[in-house]
C-alpha cells in the first residue's frame, strides 16, 4: 500500500484544450515519461477507457491518474485529472477543475486559440487555477508556434516567454512541461487535522463493485474502510476501499488532504454518490458544512423515446432503470403518445448526452427506438406561476398564459475575419443578439451572441462549420430564460393531430417549420386507399398542406397455377410490412417515417 504523501510534493492538475488540440496524446506521453504504464500495455488515448468514448474520440468520464515524477532530485506525485470535453458536461468540468490547483492550457500551434480554449480558460481561471500555457504540435509543418504563443500570452495576460512549447506526438518538451507544472502549480494546502471533506468530481458505475467515486480530499483524511456520509443525499455507507489510480486501481490505507483517488462506495446507484457531493465521515467526526458548488444535474434537452416495436416497452423501462445507475444526469418519466404508444420522455444534459443514451440503449440493450425531435424546456408563465413544459404536446394554447420563456445561451464563436459576415448572418437568422466582438489578432475575431438554445440544438453547428469552411469554433454556456414569441405547430394526418410531430417554434419560423414537416412527410408516407391530407397547424389555423394521393393500383396482374405459392408469399410480406406500421387514425405510417421525419442532423451539436 502506498504511503500518504507529503502535501508539498503533490501537484493536482488537468489539461484543458479545444478538441483535437492534443490533450489525450499529451496525457499518453506523460504516462510513458513517468513509467506509469508498462510499455507493452501502452496504447493510444489510454485514459479514454470506455468503448463509447473511444469510438467518439471524446472523454465523457473524468478520471484521475497518479504519476510519479522526479524533478531536481525530489520525487513528486502528480495527479493528472482528466476533464470531460463537451458543453453538455460543463458542470462536470467545473467539478474536475475544483479538484485541481493548476491547469495546462493546451493550444494547437497550427490552429491557435479556439472557442473552447477560451471557455476552458475562463472556467479554469474562475476556479482559481494556475494556468500553464502550452503550445502543442510545434513540429507540424504548418505550425506557427510564435503566433499561437502570442495569442496564449495575450489571453492569460502573461509574458510570451512563459508559454511552453511541446510536441505531444514526439514527446519533445514534455519533461520540461512536467517540471513547469511542479514549479508553477502550488501544492494543495488543506489541513489534514480537520474533519474529512472530500469532493466527488466524478463517479462511475461498476456492475460488480457498485458506484466508484473519484474524490479529491480537501481536508482531513479518508480511511480505506470507513463508514462515510454522502452529504447531499444524507446517506451513510460502508466504504469498501479507497485507492489511487496508478493508473490501475491500487488500494491505499487512507487518502489524506490534497490527495486524489477513488472510493468504492458500495452504493448501487450513481444518484446516491453524485458529482459535486461531499464525502465526510459518518458519526461524530463528521464535517458540518459540505464543500461549495454542489448542483443537481439539470436536463436541458428533452425527447420522447419509444420502442419501435410496441411490445418492447417493458424492456425499455428496464433498460432505463439500469442505465440510470451509471448516469446520474439521465431523467425519464413515462409518456403516452397517441401515435407512438407507450414510451418515456427523457431529459438530457444536451444533444450529445441524448445521442450517447440512445446509442447505449440500442447497443447495450438491443432496443430499436424512435426518438422524437429534441426540444428545450419552456417556462409558461401565468399570473405569478411558472409551469415547466418539456413536451411540446403539453404546451398550452395561446391566450391561456401571460408569456412563454425559453432558455438562452451565451455563445462564444471564434472565426477568421473573412467568415465573420456569414457567421453573423447565421446568428441573426437564429434569433441571435450580438453581445460584443473583439479581434484576437488581425486575422481572427471573437464574437459573443445570445442565442436561444432551441436554435442551436438542430443544425446550427453544421451551418457554422460550412459557412466558415470549418474554421469557426463554438462554445456556449447557459445564460438564462428569456421571453419569446413561441407557438406550437401541430402536424395533422387526415385531420388527426400526431402528437409526436408537434413542436414549439418561434412564431416567425412556424410557417417554415410547418412547410418543411409536411413536405418531408409527403415523401415518407406511402399512398393509402384514400387521399391523405398532411397539414401543419397553429391552433386551428392551417399553415401548410400537402396531399398524398390515394393509391390507385396495387394488384397482382397475373395469378395462375404456377404463381400461387409465390404470390401468396408476396402478399404475406406485404401484410408484415403493414403490421410494422403505426396507425394514426386511419393512416398507416411506417416506423421509418417517424425516424426520418424526426431526424435531427446528428452533427448538430458537435464534440469539442
Amino acid at each position: 500500500m502506498a504511503h500518504v504523501t507529503d502535501q508539498g510534493r503533490i501537484r493536482n492538475f488537468c489539461i484543458v484544450a479545444h478538441i483535437d488540440h492534443g490533450k489525450s496524446t499529451l496525457a499518453d506521453r506523460m504516462l510513458e515519461l513517468t513509467h506509469a504504464v508498462p510499455d507493452r500495455e501502452m496504447r493510444d488515448q489510454y485514459l479514454d477507457s470506455m468503448d463509447l468514448e473511444r469510438e467518439r474520440g471524446i472523454t465523457i468520464k473524468a478520471q484521475a491518474v497518479r504519476l510519479a515524477h522526479e524533478s531536481h532530485g525530489t520525487r513528486y506525485v502528480l495527479n493528472l485529472i482528466d476533464t470531460p470535453g463537451h458543453v453538455d458536461f460543463t458542470y462536470e468540468v467545473s467539478r474536475s477543475l475544483a479538484a485541481c490547483e493548476g491547469a495546462i492550457l493546451l493550444v494547437d500551434a497550427a490552429q491557435g486559440i479556439e472557442a473552447q480554449t477560451l471557455a476552458n480558460f475562463h472556467l479554469a481561471r474562475d476556479a482559481g487555477l494556475v494556468i500553464v500555457p502550452t503550445v502543442n504540435k510545434i513540429d507540424l509543418p504548418q505550425a506557427d508556434p510564435d503566433e499561437a504563443a502570442r495569442e496564449l500570452a495575450e489571453l492569460i495576460g502573461s509574458d510570451v516567454d512563459n508559454v511552453l512549447r511541446v510536441s505531444a506526438k514526439s514527446g519533445e518538451g514534455v519533461p520540461g512541461l512536467l517540471d513547469a507544472v511542479i514549479a508553477r502549480v502550488p501544492p494543495p494546502d488543506g489541513s489534514r487535522d480537520m474533519p474529512l471533506r472530500a469532493l466527488i468530481f466524478d463517479s462511475m458505475f461498476d456492475p460488480y463493485r457498485g458506484v466508484v467515486a473519484y474524490v479529491r480530499v480537501e481536508e482531513g483524511s479518508l480511511p480505506s474502510r470507513a463508514k462515510v456520509r454522502l452529504m447531499a443525499v444524507g446517506l451513510d455507507v460502508e466504504a469498501e476501499e479507497a485507492g489511487v489510480l496508478a493508473p490501475h486501481p491500487t488500494p491505499v490505507a487512507e487518502l489524506a488532504a490534497g490527495e486524489v483517488g477513488y472510493l468504492m462506495t458500495g452504493v448501487k446507484d450513481v444518484r446516491q454518490a453524485q458529482v459535486g457531493d461531499t464525502i465526510t465521515l459518518a458519526g461524530k467526526k463528521r464535517a458540518h458544512e459540505p464543500l461549495p458548488g454542489y448542483r443537481e444535474p439539470k436536463p436541458m434537452v428533452w425527447s420522447g423515446m419509444f420502442p419501435a416495436e410496441g411490445g418492447d416497452y417493458g424492456d425499455l423501462r428496464d433498460a432505463l432503470d439500469k442505465l440510470k445507475l451509471s448516469d446520474a444526469a439521465l431523467h425519464y418519466e413515462p409518456e403516452t403518445s397517441r401515435a407512438l404508444g407507450f414510451g418515456f420522455r427523457c431529459g438530457f444534459l444536451g444533444l450529445l448526452h441524448m445521442d450517447i443514451v440512445k446509442e447505449r440503449l440500442e447497443r447495450e440493450f438491443d432496443l430499436e427506438l424512435i426518438a422524437t425531435a429534441p426540444n428545450v424546456e419552456f417556462h409558461v408563465i401565468r399570473g405569478g406561476a411558472v409551469t415547466v413544459v418539456h413536451n411540446p404536446s403539453e404546451m398550452p394554447v395561446p391566450g391561456t398564459y401571460d408569456r412563454i420563456e425559453e432558455p438562452v445561451v451565451l455563445a462564444t464563436i471564434i472565426t477568421p475575419k473573412e467568415y465573420l459576415g456569414p457567421v453573423m448572418d447565421l446568428c441573426q437568422s437564429r434569433r441571435g443578439e450580438l453581445v460584443d466582438m473583439r479581434y484576437l489578432s488581425p486575422e481572427r475575431a471573437e464574437i459573443h451572441y445570445l442565442l436561444p438554445l432551441a436554435e442551436i440544438i438542430f443544425d446550427y453547428f453544421d451551418q457554422l462549420k460550412s459557412r466558415s469552411r470549418g474554421y469557426a469554433s463554438l462554445d456556449y454556456e447557459h445564460w438564462g430564460y428569456v421571453e419569446a414569441a413561441l407557438v406550437r405547430v401541430d402536424v395533422l394526418l387526415h385531420g388527426e393531430p400526431v402528437d409526436a410531430f408537434s413542436s414549439v417554434v418561434h412564431r416567425e419560423k412556424a410557417y417554415q417549420y410547418g412547410r418543411q414537416m409536411v413536405e418531408r412527410l409527403r415523401e415518407l408516407i406511402p399512398r393509402q386507399l384514400f387521399d391523405v391530407a398532411i397539414q401543419a397547424a397553429i391552433g386551428s389555423r392551417i399553415v401548410a398542406r400537402e396531399t398524398v394521393k390515394a393509391k390507385r393500383k396495387d394488384v397482382l396482374a397475373k395469378c395462375y397455377g404456377g404463381d400461387v405459392t409465390r404470390k401468396r408469399k408476396l402478399l404475406e410480406q406485404q401484410r408484415k410490412g403493414k403490421a410494422r406500421m403505426r396507425r394514426v387514425g386511419k393512416v398507416d405510417v411506417p416506423q421509418e417515417a417517424f425516424i426520418q421525419a424526426l431526424r435531427v442532423d446528428r452533427r448538430a451539436e458537435s464534440k469539442r
Binding site: 394488384v555 397475373k558 397455377g561
Partner: protein, 362 residues
C-alpha cells in the same frame, strides 16, 4: 372431382425482356426428347390421379406452338389415353403469332384443341419493340385470320399494357384494334416488373423506368370501359370474355380446383398439397428418363394459408368470396359490392385488390 391439367412447353424462339417464366430460347433440339418425357411423366402420374375427371387441358409455355402439330397431337392423345378427360373438355394451346399458320391451326383443331390463346401483346409496333417482342402487328392479324379460317371458334388475345413508351392513346388503339378483330376472350395484363427477368434487372439498375402505376391504372380503367362497351364481361382482374367463353381452366386455379402440371417447373395442386417439378429442362429430362417423378419441391398448406388462398384467389374473380366479415367500409368506399352473400370487387376494387385481400384477411 373435376380437375385441370397444365402442360408446360419451355421452348421459345427468343426470350422477351419482361418474362420470368421457365422458358428458354435455343433448346429446340431437345423438343423430341421433351415430348417423350411429357408422355412418360403422364404415365407416371396416371395411377395416382384416377378418379379425377379432367375438364380442361392447358398447354402453355414458353411457346407450345414451337412444337410440330403432330407432336402436340400425339401428346394430347397420350394424355387422353392415360387420364379421364371429359369429351367436351376445354383444350387450350398458347400460340405465338410467328409460329402458326392455317395448316398448323387445322392440325391443332383436328387433334382436339378447342381454344387458341395468342400472345398479341400490342398493336403498336413501338410497344412491341419496347417489350422485345419479335412479331409485328401484321403477323398478329395474319395469325388471327388463319385461326378463324381454320375454324377456331374460341380465341383469346393476350395484351400487355404499361410498357416503357406506351401512352394511353396507344393503348386505346391497341384495345380498339383488338375489339375490331372480335376474339371471344381478351387477357390484358399490366406489365409487371419481375426482379429476375432481364427487364427487372434493368429497372433495378436504373437503366429502364419502372411502369407508372397511375398510368397503368388509367389504362386498366380504359380497358374496363372499352371492353365492357364492346360486350366483354370482366370476370377476373386481367380477363374479359364474351358470355360463356370464360377460360374454364384458369377459373379452376381461382376456385382452387385440383390441377396436375406436367413438364419442367410445372406446379400441381391437390387437397392441401402443392408441388412443383424441377425447373431446368435437362434436370426434368434426366428425372423422367430415369423413371422418377420429377418433383422438385412441395408445400403443405396450413389451414390459415388455405383460408388466405381462398380469399386472395377467389377475390380475383367477379364471383368473389362468401361474406364472412364486416366489410362495410370497403363497400362504402366503392371497392366491394355485396352480391348473393358474396363480396365481389368492383373494377376500382380490383385495382387495389392486394389491399382488399389484406383487409379481408386481417
Amino acid at each position: 372431382m373435376t380437375a385441370g391439367m397444365y402442360v408446360h412447353v419451355p421452348f421459345c424462339l427468343t426470350r422477351c425482356g419482361y418474362c420470368d417464366f421457365n422458358a428458354y430460347a435455343g433448346l429446340g433440339h431437345l423438343a423430341g426428347r421433351y415430348v417423350d418425357a411429357l408422355r412418360h411423366e403422364a404415365e407416371l402420374w396416371a395411377p395416382s390421379w384416377t378418379g379425377e375427371r379432367f375438364v380442361s387441358i392447358f398447354v402453355g409455355g414458353g411457346t407450345p406452338t414451337t412444337l410440330d402439330a403432330s407432336a402436340l397431337s400425339g401428346l394430347l392423345d397420350a394424355i387422353r389415353s392415360r387420364f379421364e378427360v371429359a369429351p367436351d373438355a376445354e383444350v387450350t394451346v398458347e400460340a405465338n403469332p410467328d409460329t402458326v399458320d392455317e395448316a398448323k391451326h387445322t392440325a391443332l383443331l383436328a387433334s382436339g384443341v378447342t381454344r387458341l390463346s395468342m400472345g398479341a401483346q400490342s398493336f403498336d409496333p413501338t410497344v412491341l419493340v419496347s417489350l422485345e417482342r419479335v412479331h409485328s402487328p401484321e403477323s398478329v392479324r395474319r395469325a388471327y385470320s388463319a385461326a378463324r379460317a381454320a375454324g377456331f371458334s374460341n380465341v383469346n388475345l393476350d395484351l400487355i399494357y404499361g410498357a416503357n413508351g406506351e401512352t394511353l392513346e396507344s393503348w386505346r388503339r391497341t384495345l380498339e384494334e383488338t375489339i375490331s378483330l372480335g376474339p371471344e376472350h381478351i387477357s390484358a395484363y399490366a406489365l409487371t416488373i419481375e426482379p429476375t427477368a432481364p427487364l427487372g434487372r434493368k429497372v433495378a439498375a436504373g437503366l429502364a423506368p419502372p411502369p407508372d402505376p397511375d398510368l397503368q391504372a388509367d389504362m386498366f380503367e380504359l380497358a374496363c370501359e372499352l371492353l365492357g362497351a364492346a360486350g366483354y364481361a370482366h370476370y377476373e382482374v386481367s380477363n374479359w370474355a364474351r358470355a360463356g367463353f370464360e377460360c374454364l381452366h384458369n377459373l379452376g386455379y381461382w376456385q382452387r380446383r385440383p390441377y396436375l402440371g406436367l413438364g419442367a417447373g410445372a406446379h400441381s395442386f391437390r387437397g392441401e398439397r402443392r408441388w412443383w417439378n424441377v425447373r431446368p429442362p435437362d434436370r426434368y429430362l434426366a428425372e423422367v428418363e430415369a423413371g422418377r417423378l420429377p418433383v422438385g419441391g412441395e408445400e403443405r398448406l396450413t389451414p390459415d394459408q388455405e383460408r388466405f388462398e381462398q380469399v386472395f384467389l377467389r377475390l380475383r374473380t367477379f364471383r368473389g368470396v362468401p361474406t364472412t366479415r364486416d366489410a362495410a367500409e370497403l363497400v362504402e368506399a366503392g371497392l366491394l359490392v355485396r352480391s348473393n352473400g358474396h363480396l365481389v370487387p368492383t373494377e376500382r376494387g380490383m385495382l387495389v385488390l392486394n389491399e382488399l385481400v389484406l383487409a379481408l384477411t386481417a
